[in-house]
Symmetry: C2
Subunit: 346 residues, 2 copies
């Protein structure tokens, strides 16, 4: 029914092995022979059977990219950057790798499921983006899974999450703590003393680190840590909106709000406008990540720029073995405070 490598071999009057060698290009073949084979491939419209190839070679060209939420530009940008480094030539068969993005939805279970699926496919590499869930049980399961993946020869790179010691996984982590600190220091320097904080979902590394940076800055100034002015929620505008309403209720004299990320900050801005508060005259707002739309917000958002695309591209290159791992298998990537119109004097 379907055309196989043997059919191509017959048509080109060579052995199957030769066809395989031509296709994989990892072996010397006479130019004339190669020509003949390629012509036969073309004429028969032959497409290599991936599963068979992977089975025989005990390796595949699949590269997995795990993201928490594919609809969030934060992850979209990283996924695109990783993929652009991977899609090119360099694979075993035909010089093409299949870079696949898997959407975990932030669920630890789905994260593990996808890793199993990738393990099952004998993926060449896996890049895991975004923060991790801080649950002891899940952490243990994840560690074990990563261990097994690296043992099986799959290269694992974490991008935007803390290192996973003892697993053989490379980690490029963001300095969320430093960024959070810089943001709050900026607000403190502007004279703000009553600062609301809208944190990300609980039990996640990213959330915790950004929040810790915020509290570190407050502590340095001798201010109370302001736990009562901290709310948690998903990284979406609805969270920013609802949390802002609640913060204003708890502390009407609020002069600044720091949001978990830019999307949340946008929701906060909307709620403030609805409440009749001017930004930044009445209340300053700051985000995190510097997503593309942030510069177009009105007023433009003060935020911490994370080099998402650059970091992800690097993760992709490391996953492909085209760039050396950082010393110790770990590197920290720093953000940059970007001051715009949404923050002003208290």
């Amino acid at each position: 029914m379907t055309v196989t490598l043997a059919d191509v071999a017959a048509r080109a009057q060579v052995s199957p092995a030769t066809v395989s060698r031509v296709l994989n290009g990892n072996y010397p073949v006479a130019a004339a022979t190669r020509e003949r084979v390629l012509r036969a491939v073309d004429e028969l419209d032959y497409v290599l059977n991936g599963p068979a190839s992977s089975l025989a070679a005990a390796a595949s060209d699949l590269v997995g990219i795990l993201v928490n939420d594919i609809a969030d530009p934060f992850f979209g940008i990283m996924a695109g950057a990783v993929q652009s480094e991977i899609g090119g030539p360099g694979g075993r068969a035909g010089g093409e790798r299949l870079a696949v993005v898997c959407n975990t939805g932030g669920s630890p279970e789905r994260e593990l499921t996808y890793l199993t699926l990738l393990q099952r496919q004998r993926a060449a590499a896996v890049v895991i983006t975004g923060g991790a869930v801080e649950d002891a049980e899940h952490a243990a399961a994840l560690t074990a899974k990563l261990q097994r993946l690296t043992d099986a020869g799959t290269r694992v790179v974490l991008c935007g999450r803390p290192p996973a010691p003892e697993t053989g996984a490379v980690a490029l982590s963001f300095d969320n703590r430093g960024g959070g600190r810089a943001l709050t220091e900026h607000l403190l320097a502007l004279g703000h003393r009553r600062i609301g904080y809208i944190a990300g979902p609980e039990e996640r590394t990213t959330t915790r680190h950004r929040l810790e940076g915020h509290r570190d800055a407050l502590a340095d100034t001798g201010l109370p840590r302001g736990a009562e002015l901290t709310l948690h929620g998903p990284y979406d505008r609805a969270t920013g909106h609802a949390a802002t309403v609640e913060l204003l209720r708890r502390e009407p004299a609020l002069t600044a709000i720091v949001a978990a990320n830019d999307t949340v900050a946008l929701g906060a801005c909307a709620a403030l406008r609805e409440a009749g508060r001017r930004i930044p005259d009445d209340v300053s707002v700051a985000g995190f990540d510097d997503l593309p739309f942030s510069v177009d917000a009105v007023p433009a958002l003060t935020t911490v720029r994370l080099p998402l695309a650059e970091a992800a591209a690097r993760a992709g290159r490391i996953a492909m073995g085209r760039e050396q791992e950082p010393p110790g298998g770990t590197a920290t990537i720093h953000g940059e405070l970007v001051v715009r119109g949404s923050t002003g004097k208290a």
Copy 2:
């Protein structure tokens, strides 16, 4: 080295065939035996070999999702929705399918490459999102490729692009033309007569249809089609910004701008503000898609809401065979005009 099905069989004291049957669940097995096998799987930490399984079964659990730009929320939302319908149980082995998102970057070549890669993997289904490039040569190649995929038993669903006749692919297309028309009619009704149009990239179905809708509306009113007030560019804010500057140069008396999508509209708004034009008092602005951030723009964007998530979810279900195909294999999905603060009287 790695644990195989035979190892599991030995440990459970059954034949490899029985283990296979337990794992695939497509065959009656005594409860006690199943228990024993599952325990052995657990104890040995066995993971099915995907390539071997796919080779033997001549089918795989891979489902591909093609997107033009994964960093664009338009595609992120659709990809997430498709994936949520696919990730669940229902696959052959272990009840899990691997839904993979492939980023074509809008390049026809990469689109074909990814399709070949998925064909090579014997993908169970493929969902292609977003508009198509309107190039005769590419169209022919694509048609042939889709034909071959469907012939090989891969279900192909197009979501957000026109039908591909004779290929066996199901199409859920957006009524971009109707949406574009509604938007411009809205502006005309507000009294606007000098309307700039910032279109998407040239040679794409989505771009053309939205633009045609715009021109249809103009023609109905007896206005010139305003080709000289139409500019093209990628779906990003930079395009919106640059095009607006140029439009204002060509026609300072402009009172409205229609953008290819919301992201472009945001860039247009930024340029207008920089030029000292108030929105909508001096110039009205409209977008397309109703992406999540559009409601938070200042002023909030008038746009055409496309039910991206719903449509993509439906495409996913059809790809999985969990929902019947629309009659004739084709359905048109209509957008909805959403009037907000960014448009007003001329």
